[in-house]
Symmetry: C2
Subunit: 297 residues, 2 copies
C-alpha cells in the first residue's frame, strides 16, 4: 500500500528521478508495520477511542510520516485510509497499519497518552507485527531490525513477548505481544495474507493510468471470483458473486493513488473489518489482505 | 561448562579480582555454541574425520580460544573434553561445542578445509544452535547476536535457514541449518536439556574444594537416581541403579575444573554420545545435557 505517491505528500513512487533515496534504485516497502492495541473495558459511554479528536490523530500521524486520506464511519467504528495504509478505531481497539518508511513505533507512547486522556488506563493486550522487510536498511528509527523494535516496546511494556515465526534469513513474521494469562476476552482473530513478487499483468490494474477510479478497481477485486480475470472484462461485466455477496453489509472506502497503488478499508457490523493494500510496482510488488471476519465461505 | 578456570589457560572464574571484564561483576557464559556438521559419505577408509591430525585440531581450537583437556577413543569415535566444553569426531560427523567467550564460528571455514584435506567435499547438513546468552554484549566476534552469526554462515552456505524458537526477548533457542530436501539419512536425533538458575546446594558439589575428583562427581551424577541426594551420602553409597545401569557400555571421560566446574563426555557404540557440562557459580549457574541416544528408560 502506498499513499507515498499521493498528492497529500510523499515522493512519487513510480519515478526514480525524484527519488529521495541515496541508493541507485527506487524502492518502496509495501510490507506494513501493524499495531493493534486493546484497552481493558471501562464501560462509560464517554470512554471511547472514537472520541479522540481528529486533529490529535492528524498530529500523531504526522509524527510517524503519514496522513489521513479518507474517513468512513459506521455505528461502531471509524476507519481511515492513510497515505501509508490504514487506521481503525472502535470503542477500545486501536489498529494502526503503516507501510513505506513510516516510523509507527514513534507513535506508541502518544497512542497510550491519547487513550489515557479519554479515560483508558490499562492496556489489555497489544500486537505489533510485520513481515520481514525487503530492504530493512532503508527503514528509519527502530524499524531497521526487529531487535530494536522490541527494545522500544520492552521499555514501555514490562511483560512483552517477542517471537519470530518462519525463517529469519528468508520470509518470516515478527510478533510482539503481551504475556498475559487472560488477554482479550472477546472472540477475536485476525487473518493476514501477505503476498509479494506478484504477476505483472494483474498488478498493472492498480495503476491510475489503467483504471480511472478506485471504484472500478474495487469492482475488479470484489466483483469477480475469477482468478485470471482481465481488467477490461471485469470492469465491463463485473461478476457479482464475489466478496460483496459473501459480505453484503461491507461498507467500502477505497483509494486509487496517483500514479499507482490501491488502498481499501471495508467495515462490517460489530467491529468487523477488511483492509487491502496494493503496491503494484514490479520491482517490489506487494499485496496485503487483513480481516478479523470469522465467516468462511 | 567451563574449562575457563582450568590450569590450561583462561582466567579463574570464581575470582572477581582478576576478572578480565570491564564490567563490575565477573560473568561466565555457560550456554554453549553448538555446531554439528555432517559430510556426504565417501566410503573410503582413509576418508574419516578421525584422521585429522591432533596438532591441526589444537591449532583450530586455539583460533577460537579453547584447548584440549582430555581425549577418549572408542572403535567409532573420538571425544575431547575441552577447556570450554567438548568436541566429538566420528567418520563423517563433527561436533564442536564451546562456551564462555569462545568464537566458534571463526572455525567454520577451517573445519571445512580440514575435512577437504582428508577427502570430504560435500557437506550434507549443518546444525548451528545455541540458547540465548545471559550477557550477549560480552561475547566476541559475530556471537553478540544471532543475526551476525547468520551472516557469517550465509556467506558460506547458500541454502542456510535460520530460526528462533521461543521468546526472542526471553528464553529462546537459535538454530541455523541447511534447507535440504534429503538431509542426514541415518536415524539421528539430539536431545538437549539446558538449565539455568540452579539450586545452590546442588551446584556446590561441582566445586573442587567439595569434591576431590571428577570420578566422585560422576558417581554423584550417574550413581543415583535420587533427585535430592546429598553429595556425602551419594559418594559413600552410590546407588548403582542410575545411568550406568541404563547405559552399561558408556565410556566416561570427566573433568572437574579448579576451582569449580565439571565436564563429561560419555561414548557409546555406533556413534552414541552423552555430554554434560556444569557451570556452578550461583550468579550464572548453568547445566547442559546433550545426547543422541535414542533409548528411553
Amino acid at each position: 500500500m502506498n499513499g507515498h505517491s499521493l498528492s497529500v505528500g510523499a515522493a512519487p513512487m513510480c519515478n526514480t528521478e525524484n527519488s529521495p533515496q541515496t541508493e541507485h534504485t527506487w524502492h518502496y516497502e509495501g510490507a506494513e508495520k501493524l499495531l493493534e492495541v486493546w484497552w481493558k473495558p471501562v464501560n462509560k459511554p464517554e470512554v471511547d477511542l472514537r472520541n479522540i479528536k481528529r486533529e490529535k490523530l492528524v498530529k500523531l500521524l504526522d509524527k510517524i510520516k503519514c496522513e489521513i486520506v479518507s474517513e468512513t464511519r459506521t455505528e461502531d467504528q471509524v476507519a481511515y485510509v492513510l497515505s501509508e495504509s490504514s487506521m481503525f478505531l472502535s470503542e477500545r481497539r486501536f489498529i494502526l497499519k503503516t507501510c513505506g518508511k513510516t516510523t509507527l513505533l514513534f507513535a506508541m507512547e502518544d497512542i497510550l497518552k491519547l487513550a489515557r486522556e479519554i479515560g483508558f488506563e490499562d492496556v489489555e493486550d497489544i500486537f505489533y507485527s510485520r513481515k520481514n522487510f525487503l530492504r530493512p536498511e532503508l527503514q528509519v528509527g527502530p524499524h531497521k531490525n526487529f531487535e530494536d523494535e522490541v527494545s522500544v516496546l520492552d521499555k514501555i511494556f514490562p511483560n512483552g513477548a517477542a517471537y519470530v515465526l518462519g525463517r529469519m534469513n528468508g520470509d518470516c513474521w515478527y510478533l510482539y505481544t503481551l504475556d498475559v494469562a487472560l488477554s482479550v476476552q472477546e472472540p477475536d482473530q485476525t487473518l493476514e495474507i501477505l503476498m509479494s513478487d506478484l504477476d505483472r499483468d494483474v498488478m498493472a490494474q492498480f495503476y491510475k493510468t489503467d483504471c480511472t477510479t478506485a471504484e472500478e478497481v474495487s469492482e475488479l477485486i470484489f466483483g469477480s471470483d475469477e482468478t485470471d480475470v482481465t481488467r477490461t472484462a471485469a470492469v465491463k461485466t463485473p461478476n457479482k458473486t464475489g466478496i460483496s455477496d459473501l459480505l453484503p453489509e461491507l461498507k467500502i472506502d477505497a483509494v486509487l493513488f496517483d500514479p499507482c497503488g490501491y488502498s481499501m478499508n471495508g467495515l462490517l457490523p460489530n467491529g468487523g473489518y477488511v483492509t487491502i493494500h496494493v503496491t503494484p510496482e514490479p520491482e517490489f510488488s506487494y499485496v496485503s489482505f487483513e480481516s478479523n471476519v470469522s465467516r468462511v465461505s
